[in-house]
Amino acid sequence: MVENNLTEATEQGYFDNTSRRLIDTYTEALWSAANTHGRSSAIREEAEGLATAIRSGELIKLFFEGNGTSRDQRGELLKKVFEGKVDELLSNFVQVLNNHDRLYLFGDILVAYQKFDDAKQGRVDVDVTSGYSLSPEQLANIEGVIRNRLGKVPRFHQKLDPTLLGGMVVRVGDMVWDQSSKSKLNRLTQLLEEKGTHEIQAGRDRFRTPE
């Protein structure tokens, strides 16, 4: 999930400061409106689906990002596509974006909205990579730890990586907790290499005659 967000964000210039400020402002506005009507979670689900759809189709992407059609034409088209099919708020929001010529930010806003909603609801994406698939009890255990430590509700994304041998790697945002056998062995190797070099050098120094 995190990775997908990142690719999306890079593609659309999330790291361009001007766009980012616009994205943040529109996202907050959409979320506040949704929250006032108690529909923030419902819109989040729709946003997730829409974001995937926009990412998957070149043609849809082109429609949102290109400027081949006029504002009115696009407005009509958006009405046909969205009205009655998605939440009314979201449908209105698309029209607002169109009127302000900011439709090209729509994909980014959808992604940002999910993050924003998660942060407000105290949810957090957690990547769990392990050498074997985890049982529901184990996951519940991890959930308990994360709730205790971060005070947030984790949403798990599981990955299998047999090269870890045992243990698991848990990632929350930037922080990574690594308890895999692979990294333990790596650390031990490094430690022994350093120790070994030091011993050999010390041995060499012992035999060296002062010049």
Binding site: D174, L192, E199
Partner: protein, 565 residues
């Protein structure tokens, strides 16, 4: 050489047994884009400015340089060509350090302290931060002790003190590096540890320099830090700070050090490249706004540390004196149990202790705390274009340093080497950093030379000159001749004093101009072999007493009879 495999195995075995596992928590980010020695990283939200980061896949080290709202600009200290978008970056929580200590002496290293000379790993447990704040004023004392360069023109007219920052500035191929290298060579047998930092130079040039240092036995007390022009800009930018940190390691142990930065113009260019790539706003000549600070914070680290003195029993071992060895307390009485020792800081307090306190303690002496009184002398080098000293970087560094040695291409081509332009070269520490003997013979040398230059220009008009003026001119020609000196032949201060004495006192007037150099060579041999009592006397006294002056005069006169051109 024999290794005992069992011993090594047993050490490793105990390591394995003692190995305690702990949960590894790390802060990570991902590479967004990479190129030209820099990377932009998403994540690492708690990274500090200047913190080391590691690219986990290739184990390359980077430095957090720019902290932005959504990303971190990292300068890559190593091979950046193998990095790719999406690579994981881990914050290490540490600042950049270099190894320091005696194990570094005689080694050639890169700016991260990795050996480049193929002589195996450098095993030392000490290290220092590459970026460190300069010592404050309380820790310093005035620069007064001379650092002999072994070059007549400089030691006589532009003396350099220990802890001073003297800029060497000039066009390409005017002998800037030669002056720095000669100064290093002249420290042979002395107490100065030298660090030569080569920034953005051709590796062939550096190899040649190292060869000169080796051939003259200078690598026994020298460390070379290399960031050649093939190295990425981040390392070229860091090299002088690393060299400075290595020298500081010795300085804080009470040793004297000399650090040559060759040259800071190239470092400035490397820093400009980094800053532009990081999109920092360009200023004059496209250098970033903090280019002045980049140089001033480096050169501020050159310092003469204050000497700390304590009163100890006469029999105490001088090599083991620490602050706590003192026998007196704050009230300058015998120190009781639980009281802190009185430490006399700097020359004034030392004098006070010597005059007023020491007499109250018979059987005691004043001793210097071993780790105090070290110094770091800096010789930054700046290359100018077409003699243009009013360009941005030269004016900056001129204003930071305590004087400059200005080298002229025209003098160099006229055969006047070292091509020091005496008129505009200065040392702001002045004659304080000169031995008494040199002060007495070279006191008026600068003014005399300036007067000679004026006369010389006048004489070129072809006017007939009166006898006195002609005499002054002849004297001037001989002084100029005496100040010439070959590359890599530094001269001890006694020999310099004798030669300059002869020239300024008019004792060379009878020697034809083109034979002055031959006279010098022969006289120095005579001086050393036939009149060792005078030579050793000056060496010991460091000043010209009336007796020594007479002895020197006699030696020169006696030699005149046996001079064979």
């Amino acid at each position: 050489m024999k290794f005992k495999p069992d011993e090594i195995v047993s050490v490793l075995q105990s390591e394995v047994e003692k190995y305690r596992d702990r949960l590894e928590a790390r802060e990570t980010g991902k590479v967004l884009e990479v190129g030209d020695g820099i990377a932009r990283v998403h994540g690492l939200s708690n990274v500090m400015a200047g913190e080391m980061v590691e690219f986990t896949r290739t184990k390359v080290i980077g430095l957090a340089f720019n902290l932005e709202e959504t990303s971190v600009g990292v300068i890559i200290l190593g091979n950046y060509l193998e990095l790719t978008e999406g690579d994981e970056v881990v914050a290490t929580g540490r600042l950049l350090q270099v190894p320091v200590g005696d194990a570094m002496i005689g080694r050639v290293v890169d700016p991260l302290g990795n050996p480049m000379d193929g002589k195996g790993p450098i095993i030392t447990s000490e290290s220092r931060f590459v970026e460190a704040p300069a010592p404050g004023i309380a820790a310093r004392q005035p620069v007064e002790e001379p650092l002999q360069t072994g070059i007549k023109a400089i030691d006589a007219m532009i003396p350099i003190g220990r802890g001073q920052r003297e800029l060497i500035i000039g066009d390409r191929k005017t002998g800037k590096t030669t002056i720095a290298i000669d100064t290093i060579l002249n420290q042979k047998g002395g107490d100065v540890v030298c660090v030569y930092v080569a920034i953005g130079q051709k590796e062939s040039t550096v190899a040649k320099l190292i060869e000169i240092l080796r051939a003259n036995g200078a690598m026994d007390y020298t460390i070379v830090v290399i960031a050649s022009s093939a190295t990425a800009a981040p390392l070229q930018y860091l090299a002088p700070y690393a060299g400075c940190a290595i020298a500081e390691g010795f300085m804080h142990k009470g040793q004297h050090t000399l650090c040559v930065y060759d040259d800071l113009s190239k470092q400035a260019a490397a820093y400009r490249q980094l800053s532009l790539l990081m999109r920092r706003p360009p200023g004059r000549e496209a250098y970033p706004g903090d280019i002045f600070y980049a140089h001033s914070r480096l050169l501020e680290r050159s310092v003469k540390m204050a000497e700390r003195w304590v009163i100890v029993p006469t029999g105490a071992d001088d090599s083991k004196i620490v602050d706590d060895s003192g026998a007196t307390n704050a009230a300058e009485q015998t120190r009781g149990q639980g009281e802190a020792a009185k430490v006399y800081v700097g020359p004034l307090e030392k004098e006070h202790a010597h005059k007023h306190v020491l007499p109250k303690f018979p059987g005691h002496k004043l001793a210097r705390v071993v780790a105090s009184g070290g110094s770091l002398t800096a010789l930054p080098i700046i290359e100018t274009l077409e003699g243009e000293v009013s360009a941005y970087i030269p004016t900056n560094v001129i204003s930071i340093t305590d004087g400059q040695i200005y080298l002229q291409g025209s003098l160099f081509n006229a055969g006047l080497r070292p091509a020091v332009d005496v008129g505009i070269s200065v040392s702001r520490v002045g004659s304080k950093a000169q031995t008494g003997a040199m002060k007495s013979v070279a006191g008026s040398l600068r003014l005399d030379l300036a007067a000679f230059r004026e006369l010389e220009a006048f004489a070129q008009l072809g006017t007939e000159l009166d006898k006195a003026t002609q005499g002054q001119l002849d004297r001037g020609y001989r002084v100029v001749e005496v100040l010439k000196q070959g590359a890599n032949v530094p001269m001890s201060f006694v020999d310099q004093v004798a030669i300059i004495f002869a020239a300024t006192k008019g004792m060379l007037d009878s020697v034809p101009r083109n034979q002055v150099q031959a006279w010098e060579t022969q006289f120095l041999r005579y001086f050393k072999e036939q009149t060792p009592e005078v030579r050793n006397g000056i060496l010991k006294e460091k000043k010209l007493t009336p007796d020594l002056t007479k002895g020197l005069e006699k030696a020169i006169k006696d030699f005149a009879l046996q001079f064979r051109p």
